[in-house]
């Protein structure tokens, strides 16, 4: 005999408190075109919740790159500027210089930031620009069909590395969070992964640290969020989190990489549940 199935189409009749809204107030539309099992909406939710939970944020501008997540420009209830592929950091720079009281963040994928826009992110970080760049890293160009990017790890399946990325043939990935942490202009650098609930919570914590760092004028802040893309990886959706953690998470290691302008040693940075 199987377990009873409870009614879930309306709030409970028994006295209860709603502890979690279905979606943040700052989310304009719950429906989106992201694939089943995509990790990007999890990161987007955390960004919006972080903004909602920080009353010290008096204004916010999001600069959105080009990828699957571009649609979030329409569904985040903060002023948004849509940038070209790779170019969000320079737009964020101009916006922040003119509106220094506002929280200015970018939302970019790995193809956008680390392929097309590598120059932009490195210069913006080195300059110590007081913006927060957020990377959604799934190791593929999701929107164009799942090809390899500069962050795809050795052995990772993508549309043009179906047998796994091969170092001799495809070259090596760039560990962008680690690279940015080397730059003196970068003040807070962290990497999380949304493969489980704990990772999602840690993502929000890191975003809040980064936003606080920006508001304090501490320099460039960066949060890299590893996200699932089962479509791009050609795996069932249920296997996405495990693949993310094992394949990408073993190379792009989660944790705080830099705090208050100082490198955090790898052994001391295992705050991501590793």
């Amino acid at each position: 005999m199987s377990r009873p199935i409870l009614s879930t189409d309306a709030p409970p009749r028994e006295p209860a408190t709603r502890t979690h809204r279905a979606s943040p107030e700052l989310l304009l539309a719950e429906q989106h075109h992201m694939c089943p099992g995509c990790g990007e909406p999890l990161a987007a939710r955390m960004i919006l919740e972080a903004i909602e939970e920080m009353p010290e944020i008096e204004g916010a501008i999001g600069v959105v790159g080009i990828g699957c997540y571009t649609g979030f420009a329409m569904s985040m209830d903060v002023d948004t500027i849509q940038a070209l592929h790779g170019r969000a950091p320079s737009l964020a720079t101009g916006a922040k210089r003119m509106r220094s009281d506002a929280l200015v963040f970018t939302l970019q994928g790995d193809g956008d930031m680390v392929n097309e826009g590598l120059q932009e992110i490195l210069h913006t970080a080195a300059r110590g620009e007081n913006v927060t760049c957020v990377l959604l890293n799934n190791g593929v160009f999701g929107e164009t069909g799942g090809h390899m990017t500069a962050t795809t790890v050795i052995g990772q399946r993508t549309k043009n590395s179906l047998d796994g990325r091969d170092a001799a043939y495809h070259g090596h990935p760039i560990l962008i969070g680690d690279l940015i942490a080397c730059l003196d202009g970068a003040s807070y650098v962290a990497r999380s992964s949304v493969h489980d609930a704990k990772g999602v919570i840690r993502t929000k914590q890191m975003l809040k640290e980064a936003f606080a760092s920006q508001l304090a004028g501490a320099g460039f802040s960066f949060v890299e969020v590893l996200t699932m893309c089962p479509t791009g990886w050609f795996i069932p959706t249920a296997e996405g989190p495990g693949y993310l953690d094992e394949v990408m998470g073993s190379v792009h290691v989660t944790g705080e990489l830099k705090r208050d302008g100082k490198r955090v040693s790898p052994s001391g940075s295992s705050a991501g549940g590793r």
Binding site: D9, G37, D196, V200, P230
Partner: protein, 91 residues
């Protein structure tokens, strides 16, 4: 007769679910199970069994904003299940 207690519950927006199944293993008490029916988009969706703690893990890992989470003022006891076995419960 076996009983189960729920400290919390969820609402599930069935129409919005895309059947990714990430909520199933994310639920610590394993009280979510995918349906055999499909929604209007052709996706299976989660069903709730007794034993929810209201922790919100399902909501955190759901890409489609399907869940809202509630905590009961008093734990709710569910009667009537003959067995607490479920194929979804793992080690």
């Amino acid at each position: 007769m076996a009983t189960a207690t729920s400290r919390g519950t969820v609402t599930i927006n069935v129409a919005q679910c895309k059947g990714c199944e990430l909520c199933i293993p994310a639920c610590p008490p394993r009280v979510l199970e995918m349906s055999s029916e499909v929604n209007s988009n052709g996706y299976a969706y989660p069903l709730l069994h007794p034993g929810c703690t209201g922790c919100g893990a399902c909501l955190l890992v759901c890409p489609d904003f399907v869940f809202a989470v509630y905590r009961f003022a008093e734990p709710v006891v569910h009667e009537g299940s003959e067995s607490r076995e479920s194929p979804e419960v793992g080690p």
